[in-house]
Amino acid sequence: MTSTLRWKALLVLVVVLACLVGLVCFRKMPEGKTRLLVPRSLADLRANLEGRINLGLDLRGGMHLILQVQVDDAINSETDQVVERLRTLLREQAISYQAVRKTDATHVLVTGIPADQLNSARGFLQESYAGSAVSPAYVIGSLPAEQSGFVLEMTPSLQAQLRQEAQRNSIETIRQRVDALGVAEPTIAEHGRGEWEILVQLPGVDDPARVKSILQSTALLEIKLVEDGPYASETDALAKTGGILPPDSMLVREASGARGAQAGGPQWYIVSRTSVVTGRDLRSARSQPNAERPGAYEVSFSLSRDGAARFGPFTERNVGRPLAVVLDNRIQSVAEIQSRIDDAGRITGTFTLQQASDLALVLRSGSLPASIKYLEERTVGPSLGADSIRAGFIASLVGLLLVAFSMLFYYRLSGTNAVVCLVLNLLILLVAIADIRLGFGLLAAAALAWWIHPAAGLLATGFAWAFVAVSGTPVSATLTLPGIAGVALTVGMAVDSNVLVFERIREELRLGKSVVAAVENGFDRAITTILDTHVTTIVSAAVLFMFGTGPIKGFAVTLTIGLLANLFTAVYISRAIFEFVLARQARPTTLSI
């Protein structure tokens, strides 16, 4: 037996061991790390295995959402704020004006500035709103003489920046809410190209309606002074004010649940446009039973130091006037200010315990900078996932057995070789799904062994294994139902390589070559074809990976890894086994094939 052959045998042994140990001797800890843990009992083994394979949503149940951030909301509200701020600033600068108003999402008009102040106004606007040369904010243009004023136009670069921020902040807020819900291993990420979409995957979530409303809730909390009201309807309110609202005020409706069981529909109020405090000024929020309405719950909140500094003096000035708690543009409660309030408040209404704690949760995580729309929603119940695993597993197992028996029947002892390779292939595939780094480490090792020397492969295997053992945090692929189909299909396609080789060996034998020469020629001749077949399938799998959605990506992953592993097992290892067996016979004359 040659020394290379001994090295090869050692490599095969080590790879098998690395796979087995890599798969079985690690346990995923609750905090997400893996630890080396040698199983001592069957229960241990089960626990180790269960944590290692990361199941996709379709197998473990859960919720998949694609939502779109309405980023233009952020631009709109930015312009609203500019209007508010501009009024105050101009007043402070003692520049008189007739009106400051928003004409559309990106334009603000300032009109009626006296002719002698036009120049200083332009200078002031230029200084405060033009931004820098690198990031221009607004373009300030003059209005026709009869309007005597300026127009502020938001630059595209500021718009782009606001949109980006809106999406980033939305992702952050959603992540906080998901974390507060206690969902394990969620995925929250940008999705698609430039459409402001966010992908949210929540494994194990089984109350989709509740989760969706929590994620979607804008949770924009504002506390405003009530100017007038209540009115029974919008028209009533407008009739009282003569069809025109007082300046700086707005008409807001009550939330439908605000009144509880009291008679009458939701009322309308005229409230101040500016808010005393908003959700940003909250320090904390929590749910508690409503003292006045037994069985109902409310949310109490406390304000940050900054918010309290504004709220205290404001309430002192306005004792006796009613204050409205507005949530997402609906009035939740209205109460008269009894005395100075510094830093605490309540949102009352007829909330159930869950509604109140959900509201507290979204308030704590902050408001969304823009509203969101759901574009796609898929939920899989946990029982369906369990059924799918069972069906996929049985189908794969039956497929494997059918193929294995056919190979044994048709190729006899050489068939055993093929079956060994097949099992090894599946083992590598499983390891790669459990920890993709170990999988690719093994494949790299295989490539080195092939091109350089088995010893290089050994080294690489050891290195990959040690790296994975030390690093702790697993990088796992996700097994989905189409992924299981990919495993089954790998089984079918993997034996293709064996068949190609074996048929070639048979041909060589028929031509009267010696056994050793036939094996050698068989492998050498089949290799180009095997490479071709693998490359073509991997090309289509790569395309699937790039364009597929979650479950289909899983299919592409298992198929690709399976085929790569197959190059190693069906060509390298299979050949090593043949050589090993033949080397043990003095002069092989027959081959069971």
């Binding site: 694609i66 779109q68 698609g192 979530v205 089984d206 109350d207 989709p208 315990l353 729309k373 759901y374 574009l375 796609e376 929603e377 898929r378 939920t379 119940g381 029982s383 369906l384 369990a386 799918s388 069906a391 049985i394 189908a395 794969s396 039956v398 497929g399 059918l402 193929v403 056919s406 029947f409 048709y410 006899r412 139902l481 189409p482 189909a485 299909l489 089984v491 079918g492 396609m493 034996v495 293709d496 068949v499 190609l500 074809t529 071709d532 077949t533 073509t536 399938t537 090309v539 289509s540 799998a541 790569a542 395309v543 699937l544 364009f547 597929g548 479950p551 289909i552 299919f555 592409a556």
Partner: protein, 398 residues
């Protein structure tokens, strides 16, 4: 040695016109079906809409469901039995209501409302079959059957544990549906008083929502575009690879003709057998593209090898010879892969059904087209042009 074919020597090329006829007939049948049915039957992925899959405790009464849906204004929904008859599953699908994404959730809610109304869900009670672990734990906390109000921390973990036990039992051992509270009473880990309380405060609806999918029109459009792009790219990738590999575009073109043939026939069959065209099917079609080219390449590799070895032979004979040489492999590999596809088809569950069907049809078509379509195309082309072989050694065909 067991052999499928002992040195086979069939004249495959003799049958080429018959096969062209057969392929045309299949293509026309499939195309006809597509035209008559107005295109492929797009699934929710591509069409957008709402789909709710329900599992019932007993055989569902479709007429009753239909009547209930009509009352909710969903008269146009499709209602289908799903899976094995004894699994009592039904899929309710509706087209997109309105164009706006806001309407996304309304149909789903309406379907659920209709179902609850039909099967007389008591208002205000907890539906034990359709609540998740969270809501069940919350409810237990509220009812507090173990009187743990004094120790909130203890109560939360205790009730959560019980809720997990109940939902785990329901989902893993009862297929998602509890039939009676009797099952809870004998369930280990659930104190009798909890079972009693649940019996009073909750009810078991005779159905469970196993899956809900809502796809907005925008996503539908996006996915359609993606699927087309992916298929186009896969085909282009193949063409490039074969071009690089064979350096003679006759082979590449023949392989691509064969691939198109296989994909078109498969799509036709999907339409004939009324399978839904969804993302899984596209994945299967792409796999098929790889498989079909793979199969063709094995034969073409042999042809090129023989071109170098057997220069004296007539090109048509050489091709025939090559096909015969690779015949055992072709049949064996297709057969073995087909076996796994059969296993997926019969045992893999409903989701993989269409996937496996596509692969199965495609594999048969792929094997057939390698032998009867791709090879004759190469022969026809090379004999007409008077060229042959990868070595570039020009040689008259006859």
């Amino acid at each position: 040695m067991i052999e499928l074919f002992r040195t086979p020597n069939y004249d495959f090329l003799k049958w080429k016109w018959h096969c062209v006829g057969l392929s045309l007939a299949l293509l026309i049948a499939g195309g006809g079906s597509l035209v008559m049915k107005g295109g492929p039957r797009y699934g929710i992925d591509f069409k957008g809409g709402t789909l709710v899959r329900l599992k019932f405790a007993d055989a569902p009464d479709l007429d009753r469901i239909r009547a209930a849906l009509r009352q909710e204004g969903l008269g146009s929904s499709t209602i289908q039995r799903y899976g094995r008859p004894d699994s009592n599953e039904v899929i309710i699908g509706t087209e997109q209501v309105g164009r706006e994404e806001e309407a996304l959730d309304t149909s789903r809610q309406a379907i659920l409302t209709a179902m609850r109304a039909t099967f007389q869900a008591p208002a205000g009670k907890l539906d034990l079959n359709n609540s998740g672990t969270d809501s069940l734990a919350d409810a237990l906390l509220r009812f507090d059957p173990l009187a743990l109000a004094g120790q909130p921390g203890e109560a939360a973990t205790r009730y959560r544990g019980i809720a997990e036990r109940i939902t785990g039992f329901r989902d893993n051992e009862r297929g998602g549906l509890l039939r009676s509270f009797q099952e809870l009473r004998i369930l280990e880990g659930v104190p009798p008083v909890v079972a009693q309380t649940l019996e009073q405060q909750a009810f078991l609806s005779p159905f469970v929502v196993r899956k809900g999918e809502v796809v907005g029109p925008r996503v539908g459009r996006q996915l359609r575009r993606q699927a087309l792009l992916a298929t186009g790219l896969a085909l282009a990738g193949m063409l490039v690879y074969i071009g690089l590999r064979f350096r003679q575009w006759v082979y590449g073109s023949a392989a691509v003709v064969a691939v198109f043939h296989d994909v078109l026939i498969t799509v036709g069959f999907l339409s004939l057998f009324n399978y839904e065209f969804n993302l899984n099917i596209v994945a299967a079609l792409l796999t098929l593209v790889g498989y079909s080219v793979n199969d063709t390449i094995v034969t073409f590799d042999r042809i090129r090898e023989n071109v170098r070895l057997l220069r004296r032979e007539r090109f048509a004979d050489l091709v025939n010879h090559s096909v015969n040489q690779t015949l055992s492999r072709t049949i064996l590999t297709s057969g073995l892969t087909f076996l796994t596809v059969l296993a997926l088809f019969f045992l893999g569950g409903e989701v993989l059904h269409g996937f496996a069907f596509t692969l199965g049809v495609g594999m048969i078509a792929g094997t057939y087209s390698t032998v009867f379509i791709a090879s004759p195309v190469v022969v026809g082309w090379i004999e007409r042009r008077g060229h042959m072989g990868a070595s570039g050694a020009g040689r008259k065909g006859s």
